[in-house]
Symmetry: C2
Subunit: 178 residues, 2 copies
DNA sequence: AGGTGCATGTAACAGGTTACATGATTAA
DNA sequence: TTAATCATGTAACCTGTTACATGCACCT
């Protein structure tokens, strides 16, 4: 078996969820996994080609009118590769870069902005939360996998927002340490 | 004012917290901000040079015996740049790549591994949590900024671990949907 | 004498984003 | 008719990691 990138696995997963064109995959990623896994056209289209070379997906030209369009589907090997990934025990990748946390971490260099920075983080997460809740209301009868991921995302984000609110209140009281 | 990268700001912040060599900064990053902001020698050393060219830091050669060593400190401009960043209102960067979430998202393609994948995420976070709690016990009398970041990290991770435990139990019961 | 920690550095590589280019279809 | 959406694609760029190279100091 040749190498399979993580972006490649995402594409296999998306095809398994019924997405079929590069464009469609990108739209869906932007609506859903974007929060914990983003992807750009610059990755998706070349990767679809590589996956086809590896025999994991199959593409058919299905133009709409005279607008070019390539519809992809999983091959048996592709589904097997997706399942093999889901069943594998290798330590899953985790990478986070959060400038808001960084600002909080260094906030002793400008304590009078600490509350502001926490508020900015909270507002970012409140926007995220609103987006997730909107998704939730559209996701009636969705599949368990995506749905439980959504629930987890909502719960975590809510917890974060609540922590920020508490911290903001605590820091706004004139008494005690800043 | 010339461009200032995020890695550059991290370095300024680290110098403000009393770190002084490239090596020292790297060790400290690996112990603390690593969870939400990592950095490698391949970034740190070249960036220190750039910051010096920009006049934001000042480096002095202070060998120990005959072992080369360059000690850096913030210049007034460097401190001002750090503060300007902390005071700025530009939308803070946030990037996450979490393979565990991805596996959960796609888990309908292999439902019988769903609990396993959640358990793997929980174990990862329990290791993180243990590391954070160890840090906490060493951080007596630390500065408010780093300390509250640590508290936030511990709280969030604990919440995540609890969610996983609940989900694992729910999915292990034979009745209902998987 | 040897292992660990302190300390600096870079070259090759991998991964991903941005900006651009192109053009058809559909809804307002 | 015009804006939004569907649809595909790439080249240049940027950022960051990995692997390697080097060597002293300190402890056992």
């Amino acid at each position: 078996m040749p190498e399979l990138t993580l972006t490649g696995r995402v594409i296999l997963g998306m095809l398994a969820l019924g997405r079929n064109t590069g464009y469609d995959i990108k739209q869906f990623v932007d609506k859903t996994t974007r929060h914990f896994w983003a992807a750009s056209y610059g990755q998706i289209y070349p990767e679809l080609r590589r996956l086809e070379e590896q025999g994991l997906v199959r593409g058919r030209s299905e133009p709409i009118g005279s607008r070019a369009r390539t519809v992809y589907e999983l091959t048996d090997e592709g589904l097997a590769a997706l399942r093999a990934w889901l069943a594998s025990d290798v330590e899953p990748l985790y990478e986070l870069r959060d400038e808001g946390m960084l600002k909080l971490f260094f906030s002793d260099a400008l304590p009078e902005r600490r509350v502001e920075n926490i508020r900015a983080m909270r507002e970012r997460d409140e926007r995220t939360l609103a987006g997730l809740r909107a998704l939730e209301s559209h996701a009636q009868g969705g599949r368990p996998g995506p749905y439980s991921t959504l629930q987890l995302g909502i719960g975590m984000t809510q917890w974060f927002v609540d922590w920020c609110k508490e911290a903001e209140q605590r820091l706004s009281e004139p008494e005690g340490s800043n």
